[in-house]
Symmetry: C2
Subunit: 359 residues, 2 copies
């Protein structure tokens, strides 16, 4: 494209503008102490010959110690937010090639005070940029106000607030994911739609979400129901609530449910925890496994997929989201690169037993 041969340097610009390197430098950084005449000269030369600073020399001379801090919900092994942490780990490799370090601050997503503390801790780290998963919306708004005031760029992952101070957002299209879930579930009778009247669906939900007003999967459920209404309006759909904190109880809960609701042929679960019910299905329905579709590539889910107790997983790449969010901030910080898109809805992957291996 452009000739890299006779690389144009700041010195060249200085010479061509009839000034010194220092003056060009002052112009480039709007640092004042430059006469209008010199300023114009320099600017003209820069435009004319298309000078671009050498970022390596710049960074080397600068030698800053930037760090990107992630603010995420804490997690146990195998849980949803672990994937985000994994993505952060991957981003580290990229960041460290730019001498940017990555730190993570965790909070309890069910304890607003821990979030407040985490915010204070985060600011104490004096981050060069921040990645947020905004579970507590009001408190997050407070934090981002501070960040904006301090000129610290930040990005959202998973969910975003409706404001426009953020650099990027990486998330999943929730409504569509529910729609897709229904489609995959009922693709099993696509060639014989008249079989629909023998089909019956169980939606597995979390006990705690039953009375929760802000269920994060509500939109997804909406997409699911819309698909069903459009394509299979007469199929029966039942909900059953399990308690994820007490895995022992799940077999019992489902056993009672299947007895009370015979003929369940399809199972769906809208959060990331379908791995919790896979063993129960294997025990209770070994003979005639219902077709099950769930979300997210947790290790437990992938294992169940491989065992055959789950037919499809729809994944949103939480790790990728985090990785890309960090990278966008690093690019912005180091290379002055504006992101291509502010809002990035990630592609949903469909995982089956036969394409999970090279995942």
């Amino acid at each position: 494209m452009e000739k890299d041969k006779g690389k144009i340097t700041l010195k060249d610009v200085a010479r061509m503008a009839g000034v010194s390197r220092g003056t060009v430098d002052r112009v480039l950084h709007n640092r004042g102490d430059v006469s209008k005449r010199s300023y114009d000269n320099v600017m003209r030369v820069i435009k004319d010959i298309g000078y671009e600073p050498n970022i390596y020399a710049s960074i080397l001379a600068h030698d800053q110690n930037r760090s990107v801090v992630l603010l995420l919900p804490s997690y146990h092994t195998g849980e949803y937010w672990e994937m985000a942490a994994r993505g952060a780990e991957q981003a580290k490799a990229y960041a460290r090639t730019f001498n940017v370090s990555i730190e993570t601050v965790l909070y309890d997503q069910y304890d607003i005070d821990s979030f407040r503390e985490a915010c204070i801790q985060l600011l104490g780290l004096s981050p060069a940029a921040v990645v947020l998963a905004p579970v507590f919306r009001n408190e997050t708004a407070v934090l981002t106000a501070v960040l904006r005031e301090r000129g610290i760029p930040y990005s959202y992952v998973d969910t975003k607030l409706e404001e426009d101070g953020y650099l990027t957002f990486y998330g999943m299209p929730m409504y569509k994911s529910g729609y897709l879930c229904a489609e995959l579930l009922f693709d099993s009778i696509a060639s014989v739609p008249e079989a629909a009247d023998q089909m019956k669906v169980a939606l597995i939900r979390i006990e705690r979400d039953r009375n929760r007003k802000s269920d994060p999967t509500a939109t997804r459920r909406e997409g699911f129901f819309d698909y069903m209404t459009e394509h299979y309006p007469d199929v029966e759909i039942r909900s059953v609530f399990i308690n994820p904190r007490d895995p022992e109880s799940i077999v019992g809960t489902l056993s009672a449910f299947f007895t009370a609701n015979p003929g369940i042929t399809h199972v769906a679960m809208f959060n990331s925890r379908i791995h919790l019910i896979a063993p129960a299905l294997e025990i209770l329905r070994a003979g005639d496994m219902p077709r099950a579709v769930g979300f997210d590539n947790l290790d437990g889910n992938l294992a169940a997929l491989r065992r055959g107790s789950i037919r499809y997983l729809i994944t949103q790449h939480t790790d990728e989201q985090t990785r890309l969010a960090v990278n966008s901030l690093v690019d912005y910080l180091v290379l002055n690169k504006e992101p291509e898109r502010r809002d990035n809805y990630m592609h949903m992957d469909i995982l089956s037993r036969n394409n999970v291996d090279d995942y």
Copy 2:
């Protein structure tokens, strides 16, 4: 994690190892002229304190004009290899942050002489690294021999030769992709397997491949047949050959085929060109569209997917493959980073009408 404050430099290593900067440098680059004693000392210190070179200083001092050259089949808009070129374009962004430029040399994949010429042209560019799509296997072997002799690292995309001089390979698991194709195609009767005896499959193939001994999709077809034998041994499978150079003829060919073979319910195509037959299906089978599954995310294929004339596409991310191959070479050149894996079989994406939007 590590303290970035007192950044460890090459000079520190030298001091701690009781040698000079030059010696450390020689060790780092395996440049010889170092006594075993000094070598061991330096290596130990490096391990101990976890020294990592500052790439900015490194690149700045280096200031070479390396270029990575891609050797790919030429293409028209909307064809398979265009995706590889697109991936190269994306890699450019990454490469340029390291002052590495990307060049592409194209050849006619049906003309061996053009390949030979391309090889000469490539060597004339004195590349720092090369990415290859080895259509002509024998000639490619000749080229790679030269590259090895000159110490130029290279990577394969799409296909590889069975040798072990390459740095990385990025491709798709072909057998599995065929297996997956069959599964997706017949998932439509998964809940009512007894419907299988009313199903009939058409495999659309390319006229030119009929007598070709090295059909690149042969392995894929094998996976497909294995799945069918295992799960639906009695389903009828018919092949029909079309001429992609004469799109006008396709409707006629398929029309005759459907007449001769009534009751086709499923259609599969193992190369990237299923977009060629989508219009024909829309015309000939508007009333009862067969279920069609194809490969690769060509724009034409995606459009047909959106229109509903294709049910699923299995994609192998040719663009990603190329991008990653280039990146692995850049990392190797600039950062001395060995690739994590030599052979990288890419994940296969399943695309349906409902997850294609954010692709």
